[in-house]
């Protein structure tokens, strides 16, 4: 008598397998972000079983990196996550620097930090836009994507590329800020801060959004750690953990990073978490710009094309907008890495949580659930 409806549905499915039908959610589905799929077994509009269908974006990164020179791989790594590429470069370079046991100049650290945070902003804008699109609010998506372009323009000015910047190199960064860049960056930050009010009205304070996302895909505080969630998803469940504070890299030790946590753990909390971290990121960039020292921007490691890294291994991790990006680099002392292994942040959410959450969920909510967890398929597939 106390059975929940979904429990009864699974009973029905056992009794009569003709009640079940299958729906293909992805890879080419308007609600799917990226090239990824779930094969959903459904009764009515409720999901009873899910089979994740990954690997559409598998390029064999880890194999390709073994074929290329240390510095050539800088071009390859950002491509693992299109939405938020810079953490990859920084993690890879940090791992190399760890094996080399060198410390890069302070200004380089700050420049890396600023690019990381700018990348975080752009990724958050994209993530919020994806969430808005998943619930049908295309106006917010339009405006957010256009605002993201302001950051991409800055990136283009700084690094010469809109999306794949290849800015960090072993030993530092490629080039210094141009004249007027900082002023422009301040302006963009002010603009984004003003826009945040509009986003609130459109998206985060919208009662319909609250109705739809409240209680969706709840992750408890303990489960979030147990399942290996990282980043905003972890913090939205009430765990005050952030790689930037716990295992600081780049210039974060010099900056006062405020870790935002919320209790709640559902999709709405995660959406608001992103919005709060977005605001905090703007402030963090301002603080970083204020405290940035003058000086060298890279170490002289000789001819980078002929860079040899001594035998050894290191794991470097970076807090990306989606969570912990980790690079495990093994060197045999040669011109090329012996093995590079990548830890993408989306795997626990995209594969494990999908199997935990999607059953008992309605088909209505799959896209919004994915967007709220910021699942980025390329870093699952690698």
């Amino acid at each position: 008598m106390m059975d929940s409806p979904s429990y009864m549905l699974s009973k029905i499915a056992e009794k009569d397998n003709l009640t079940v039908y299958e729906l293909f959610f992805g890879p080419n589905h308007p609600g799917m972000h990226g090239n990824f799929g779930y094969v959903l077994e459904m009764i009515g509009t409720e999901i009873v079983k899910v089979r994740p269908n990954a690997g559409h974006l598998h390029r064999g990164f880890e194999k390709l990196m073994e074929q290329k020179l240390w510095v050539q791989n800088i071009a390859l790594v950002p491509r693992i996550c299109v939405a938020d590429p810079d953490p990859n470069e920084v993690a890879y370079c940090t791992a190399i620097e760890k094996i080399l046991r060198v410390d890069i100049p302070d200004r380089a650290k700050f420049l890396r930090t600023i690019t990381l945070e700018m990348s975080r902003l752009s990724s958050f804008l994209m993530g919020m836009g994806a969430l808005a699109a998943a619930v049908g609010l295309y106006t917010a998506m339009n405006i957010m994507t256009a605002d993201r372009d302001l950051i991409l323009d800055l990136f283009e000015w700084l690094t010469g590329a809109r999306v794949y910047h290849m800015f960090s190199i072993p030993g530092g960064v490629r080039n210094d800020l141009a004249d007027g860049f900082v002023e422009r960056l301040y302006k963009v930050l002010d603009h984004l801060e003003k826009r945040l009010i509009e986003y609130d009205k459109l998206l985060f304070e919208n009662p319909i959004i609250h109705k739809r996302l409240k209680g969706l895909g709840y992750v408890s505080k303990e489960d979030a750690v147990k399942y290996g969630l990282t980043g905003p998803n972890l913090r939205a469940s009430g765990n005050p953990y952030d790689v930037r504070v716990d295992d600081p890299y780049a210039a974060y030790p010099y900056l006062d990073v405020r870790v935002i946590t919320q209790e709640g753990g559902d999709a709405l909390t995660r959406a608001i978490q992103i919005r709060l971290e977005f605001e905090e990121t703007i402030n963090l960039i301002r603080r970083a710009l204020k405290t940035m020292p003058e000086g060298e921007i890279r170490l002289n490691l000789g001819n980078l094309s002929a860079l040899k890294v001594p035998k050894g291994e290191a794991y470097a991790k970076v807090e990306s907008s989606k969570g912990e990006f980790g690079y495990y680099v093994v060197s045999d002392g040669g011109m090329k890495p012996y093995r590079v292994a990548v830890r993408g942040p989306s795997l626990p959410a995209g594969l494990l949580l999908a199997q935990k959450h999607l059953p008992k969920m309605k088909i209505d909510d799959v896209a919004a659930w994915m967007a709220s967890l910021a699942i980025c398929p390329p870093d699952i597939d690698k």
Partner: protein, 198 residues
């Protein structure tokens, strides 16, 4: 001269239809690879390709243009072919980035194809790794011109040379007997673990 003659045959009706087609391109956006990330900017407020009547569509039945936005892994290729075949005619294919021409940065990867045009006919390839929104818009405008002049018709090529495409598809998707790997290694792995299916 021959080209001119071909143009002469086109009646007003044809021109009108091509005008409609040109001004209302609906695209199906197969979001493989990096190019996908530059499509939202081109579709939204800043570049706004909807002013040319170009809108994204949900399913292949509704779409005129298939956008393959980057490298194509084997698993994706299979789906792309299925979707391409599901699209009604006339249809066009836009391939993004160098990955679809020669494999780009992934040219030596074991899981990405090098030249998309071997498997489905590609009308326009957009250069760049990855193409900027301007390049995307330029490609779409080129496509519009091609449609108006009656050039864009790679889908006809697919019908005519179906065997050629089919052969290539089957080869890489391994629908036929296994042609890869020496028979020795294969047998070793079959003995060791049953999970590797031939």
């Amino acid at each position: 001269m021959e080209d001119l003659k071909a143009n002469d045959k086109r009646s007003y009706i044809d021109n009108l239809i091509d005008f409609f087609r040109k001004r209302s391109i609906w695209m199906l956006h197969y979001c493989t690879g990096c190019g996908a990330v530059e499509l939202p900017p081109s579709m939204t407020s800043r570049w706004d390709i909807e002013r040319f009547g170009i809108v994204p569509m949900a399913t292949p039945r509704q779409a005129d243009v298939l956008l393959v936005t980057g490298y194509v892994s084997l698993k994706t290729l299979k789906r792309i072919i299925k979707i391409y075949e599901q699209m009604p005619e006339p249809k066009w294919v836009l391939a993004f980035g160098s990955c679809t021409v020669n494999g780009g940065i992934y040219w030596d990867s074991y899981n990405t194809i090098t030249n998309l045009a071997e498997y489905i006919p590609v009308d326009i390839t957009v250069s760049g790794c990855m193409p900027r929104p301007e390049a995307v818009i330029d490609a779409l405008q080129t496509l519009m011109e091609m449609i108006q002049s009656g050039e864009g018709g790679a889908y006809k090529k697919y019908k005519e040379n179906y065997e050629y495409y089919k052969k290539n598809q089957d080869r890489v998707l391994r629908k036929t007997a296994p042609i890869l790997g020496s028979s020795e290694t294969e047998s070793i792995y079959q003995e060791k673990e049953g999970n590797y299916e031939t």
